[in-house]
């Protein structure tokens, strides 16, 4: 009863406060933001380059709707004040931007000077649409190497932005596949953190009840849906996508074991209809208390800890995903990147923007806002660690350190194609339509055919 009254009072107070704030927010940026911008400009001026060398130019930046975009947008006035370059953001949600970006590049490029990009980078690099960035990093007129500290970015992240040895995409976020679990339920049932997949399975079964699923995982088809968390399972079990001779081997015995465990978790301890679960279902089930555990992107933490968006704020624990019988886990990871159009008319100005946006200072502010970063200095900064749950930061940074970019299948431009076929196979196994061996075998067959083309 007390909780309810407290909730109502707190709620109404927040509502009132919010209403006042939003009314004022429209009028001017908050003081703290102005202070931040001032500070940022001062810090950037310490770099030993002439920021104003491209004064007066305009660049168009195409971005996904993402926490990063929101954070950077707020800080944009700092860049404009620093350089005199006018930056305009064109923002779209991920799927729409994929179409738009593709049509723009296929139609000859020259529209977006800088754009946010995912694994499509490798397709674009193959097609010659993106500009190699190393020359700009090494150009002392444009970049101050000490101030910028390119090495501070995780080397795995830097490796991720390379295609065939040439560096094209500058990483801007960093997230890892981690395990989230309800600490309160674990305590209630006296469970320990699972170190192996079998322990995970046991815990999930013990936690499952008619009201709450033991564990949720992505089951829906799509090269960007179930394949992502499944890959962590694949690698942890010792499987790989391709072998040294570039043959697809995701039907190896290890892969089959991984898939069977994935499906087993969902079948015996998972939610109803797991084949319809994409990342938003995974996220919302846990946030609304319908699932006790999940393995997915660490970025969900921001939603779980926000009482406006979740009922489990403060109840969640975070850990690295479990390994398999003595072998450590090999989690999946993700870095969004920004790249430059090879046909851009404002390449230097674009580079100045990229340098600014991925600099230590800006990345720290952005990291504090959206909880992801590719820079080691951000992950170890005291502000960052103070703001976010310790176990989450530990799990994420350890996972990022272990993650291996050489294992990912994205480098082949055909990835969306065989990725989709693989995802359909996994989805079939989860839905119970096919057995793991059968599904993966036919997926590999088709992949061979696609790559043989």
């Amino acid at each position: 009863m007390k909780k309810k009254v407290g909730k109502i009072i707190g709620y109404s107070f927040c509502v009132l406060l919010l209403l006042c704030c939003s009314a004022l927010a429209q009028l001017q940026p908050p003081q703290s933001l102005e202070g931040q911008i001032e500070w940022l400009v001062e810090e950037c001026k310490k770099a030993n380059i002439n920021w104003r060398q491209k004064e007066g130019e305009r660049i168009l930046v195409g971005m996904n709707k993402h926490g990063f975009t929101d954070a950077i947008q707020k800080l944009l006035p700092a860049f404009e004040e620093l350089t005199g370059i006018k930056v305009t953001f064109d923002i779209y949600p991920e799927e729409e931007f994929r179409k738009k970006r593709l049509v723009a590049m296929a139609g000859g490029g020259g529209i977006y000077d800088v754009f946010m990009i995912d694994q499509a980078l490798y397709q674009y690099a193959e097609a010659g649409w993106v500009e190699p960035l190393l020359p700009y990093i090494e150009n002392s007129n444009l970049t101050d190497p000490d101030w910028y500290d390119f090495q501070d970015i995780f080397d795995k992240a830097r490796g991720f932005g390379e295609y065939k040895g040439v560096f094209y995409g500058m990483p801007i976020t960093g997230e890892a596949e981690i395990l989230f679990y309800r600490r309160d339920l674990y305590e209630e049932k006296g469970l320990g953190l699972p170190q192996t997949m079998d322990e995970l399975y046991e815990n999930a079964r013990k936690l499952k009840s008619p009201e709450i699923a033991g564990i949720v995982l992505r089951g829906q088809r799509g090269w960007g849906a179930n394949v992502w968390p499944w890959s962590g399972f694949l690698w942890t079990y010792g499987g790989r996508f391709f072998d040294e001779n570039d043959n697809p081997v995701f039907n190896s015995p290890e892969a089959v074991s991984a898939t069977e465990m994935y499906a087993k978790l969902l079948r015996d301890a998972g939610p109803v209809a797991p084949a319809s679960y994409n990342w938003y279902e995974v996220q919302s089930d846990i946030a609304l208390g319908k699932a006790a555990m999940g393995i997915d992107s660490g970025m969900f933490m921001a939603v779980y800890e926000n009482p406006d968006k979740s009922e489990v704020a403060g109840k969640m624990g975070y850990a690295m995903m479990p390994g398999v019988a003595g072998k450590p886990p090999v989690p999946n990871f993700w870095y969004w990147m920004i790249a430059m159009d090879a046909k851009s008319m404002h390449k230097e100005a674009a580079w100045l923007f990229i340098q600014w946006a991925t600099s230590k200072e800006v990345m720290l502010r952005v990291g504090l806002e959206c909880g992801a970063s590719p820079r080691a200095s951000v992950w170890s900064s005291p502000e960052f660690l103070a703001k976010y749950p310790k176990d989450w930061a530990e799990a994420s940074s350890k996972s990022l350190a272990v993650a291996d970019p050489t294992l990912v299948p994205y480098y082949k431009p055909e990835f969306p194609e065989f990725g989709e076929i693989l995802s359909i196979a996994i989805s079939d196994v989860i839905a119970g339509t096919k057995g793991a061996k059968e599904a993966l075998d036919s997926a590999v067959e088709e992949t061979k055919r696609i790559l043989g083309k």
């Binding site: 109502i8 709620y11 109404s12 509502v15 919010l18 209403l19 939003s22 927010a25 429209q26 168009l60 996904n64 709707k65 993402h66 926490g67 305009t88 064109d90 923002i91 779209y92 949600p93 991920e94 729409e96 179409k99 738009k100 049509v103 723009a104 296929a106 139609g107 000859g108 529209i111 938003y280 996220q283 919302s284 946030a287 609304l288 319908k290 992107s297 970025m299 969900f300 921001a302 939603v303 009482p307 406006d308 968006k309 979740s310 009922e311 969004w336 959206c370």
Partner: protein
Amino acid sequence: MVRQKRGGNAFRSTLQSFLLLIISVWALFPIFWMFSMSLKRKVDALAMPPKWFFRPIADNYIQVFSSQDFTQFYVNSLIVALCSVVLVITIGLPASYTLSRVNFKGRKNIDFWILSTRMAPPIGVLIPYFLIFRRLNLLDTRASLIAMHVALNLPFAIWIMKGFFSEIPKEIEEASLIDGCSYWGSFLKITLPLVGPGVAATSIITFLFSWNELLFAVTLTGLRSKTAPVALYNFISYEEISWGPLSASAMIALVPVILFVLLMQKQLIKGLTFGAISK
């Protein structure tokens, strides 16, 4: 429109009212659900068992209104939709009339060709359109989008109106022609008012289509000419779906549509009375 005799069939009219109720609930429920989500915080919107009683908040609407260039998107959408409707009606109606009245060699082929322009799946033509508009320097303009929407809706308007025109007996026009009216005059003054309901229906559907169209809107527009559906889509971001602002956006997007429909409703009913009088 057969008028039932009063007191003749109480059972039938109760049955009909009951059916109407079911239909309304069926049509309205998801909309109502969206509306309720627009007034809740995300954690309440998704709560299960559902929170039927809650304190509504205005934040979601505020967030939509204060989001980037909100007014511009809606104005763009309005302009594109209204222009599309006007152009489709003015270009399509005369063509439709002629095609339904006059027989000439190759008419059937023209009929079918018009129909076929609607058939092409957008995927195949998206990149070609982009290239063409780019060459013409018409990217990121409302004009290019209006042109697309007109091209997509014209076949529909022509074919549907043919059906309505065919319901009107030709003797009425023949009478006016004999009286000395010109062909255009007869069309505008005699025939057109008789197809009010058809025109209203076609306008509503054209408006709706243009208002909600997403694929070409995303591809052909840029910063200046972005339309409302694209803006709404922005609430589906990478790390979460912002149900509150998404639903609020959808509700706000409904308002012009409802207004337009109300505007056309009068036409629908007006047509009815005209039909009765002229005979």
